[in-house]
């Protein structure tokens, strides 16, 4: 192993992506500096913003939270209990322990309490439960960020996530999704400002930071997740990265630089659909009642 680029001590990790050998200490400082540069580059939020981190108990969200606090940001967490038995209990415990050590507040949202049912019940009724779970989480995260008075919601999506999702959207030419694929989305019409500060970090870099910060995170994946197709795209990107190192970051950043601006001008129609307010819950929605209120009513009327 080579010497640390910063201090010339023995390096303990090599970041292939940036061709950077680093020691433990400078891996941490490099990570946090690069995170700050990403936040600044994409104008994600100002230094004094009140930040809410969507926390799952996995490595990405905990690393993001830790690094933001280390950088001096006011960042609290929010955890959604999806009602997936042991898995949800465990994730919650990991997140609560982490919050306590960090000395920051963790807000809790319980789907069983809010909806009257958890994701397992949803799975018994529809095959689309996985994407529906994503929409439900976005609904409650958006509402919590707004009603609790935070300025921005941040999520732990990393480069591997973003590159493989981008590939999926490209293979299917989902212009509607492509046009919204950006590391920061401004507040708009009841939707809070959202940012993905880890969008330029690989899973590998995040794990290395977690190790050195001694972060105890959950490695289990959601037991209900099928994620077959998502995995196909992730594996393809991993393979391309292996054969042509740097492919992921180039694919993602060049998209943002080159195609994204083109799509913005042309597909505004997609984005400026007339949004309404849900007459039941008051949240922004494409129609009223919104999908969450309709789902709740459906379950209630059938006495489930």
């Amino acid at each position: 192993m080579a010497r640390c680029r910063m201090c010339r001590e023995k390096a303990t990790v090599f970041i292939p992506h940036h061709r950077l050998p680093l020691c433990d200490e400078h891996l941490v400082s490099w990570f946090e500096r690069y995170l700050q540069r990403t936040i600044t580059k994409f104008k994600m939020f100002p230094p004094h913003a009140k930040i809410l981190v969507a926390v799952s108990g996995g490595k990405d969200s905990l690393v993001l939270w830790q690094a933001l606090v280390n950088l001096g940001y006011q960042a609290d967490g929010v955890f959604i209990d999806l009602g997936i038995n042991e898995f949800s209990l465990l994730s919650r415990r990991v997140s609560e322990n982490f919050a306590e050590n960090l000395g920051r507040k963790l807000h809790l949202i319980s789907l069983p309490k809010e909806l009257g049912f958890g994701i397992p019940a949803l799975k018994r009724r529809t095959r689309k439960y996985c994407s529906l779970c994503g929409s439900i989480k976005r609904y409650f995260l958006n509402r919590a960020t707004r009603t609790l008075g935070y300025d921005v919601l941040v999520t732990g999506h990393n480069l591997d996530d973003e590159a493989s999702a981008l590939l999926g959207n490209v293979i299917n030419w989902s212009l509607k999704y492509l046009a919204r694929k950006y590391p920061v989305l401004p507040e708009n019409n009841g939707f809070v400002r959202k940012a993905k500060p880890l969008c330029r970090f690989t899973s590998f870099e995040i794990r290395e930071y977690a190790k050195r910060q001694k972060i105890k995170y959950l490695t289990e994946r959601c037991p209900l997740s099928p994620e077959a197709t998502r995995l196909v795209y992730a594996e393809i990107m991993d393979r391309l990265e292996e054969q042509m190192p740097g492919t992921k970051i180039r694919f993602y950043m060049d998209y943002l630089r080159q195609l994204y601006p083109l799509l913005q001008e042309k597909v505004e129609d997609f984005l400026d659909r007339d949004l309404v307010r849900c007459e039941v819950c008051g949240e922004p929605a494409v129609s009223s009642p919104c999908f969450v209120c309709r789902l709740k009513e459906e379950f209630r009327s059938q006495g489930i």
Copy 2:
């Protein structure tokens, strides 16, 4: 095996792509009808056009030529001898035999005669010989089509070629190439009209047609071709197709329908670069002398 969709006789092939079981006879008629529909759909050329087919001796170009002639088109061939020893001799013999059986004219272009050197000499001088060979072929095919008085140059690119090239252009966001990726390009500024009538056919369908038409084609690949990266993209598309049948055609056609028109409006700058005429050979080029004349001069001055 099911029954033929057309005549209810026993099917001898199943086209997964169109979920179509067919007998020998109706595979051929389906293939030619679908080819005609592709030509019409993209307004490639009118019924009485004088067509020049770029012939390599491989399955794609021979099948294209055969099917066009069967459909009643006036289609001649043009073969480029690349000077790759046995391989070029063999390709040429296969192409000449085929032309004779078909009863159509085959024009010959010899790189060693035209340039004073073949591709093996080029390979000894530059690592970019493979893409340079592509450019050289396009130069001579374009010139031959124009000077011999044909209306359109057609090439045997199939769906597998187009989908994997599209993926490569997308992974690298080569907007310049993406903006020119269309099954037909109009005549423009000394560049002849070009079309890819097989762009909606898979390799499998083309091989099945070749079998039933008893076409003797060359299966050898160019012995000089490295094609490592091209293969990566081809394998990825094959894998996606296997996991999600129909991916290739959707990826390609949705690109043409959705993204291509957007790029046209925005990137005209790329396409309307000021073209000049080469002062040496008179061909259209981005600068004068053109790359072919410069290459010839370079070899000549060094007495190779």
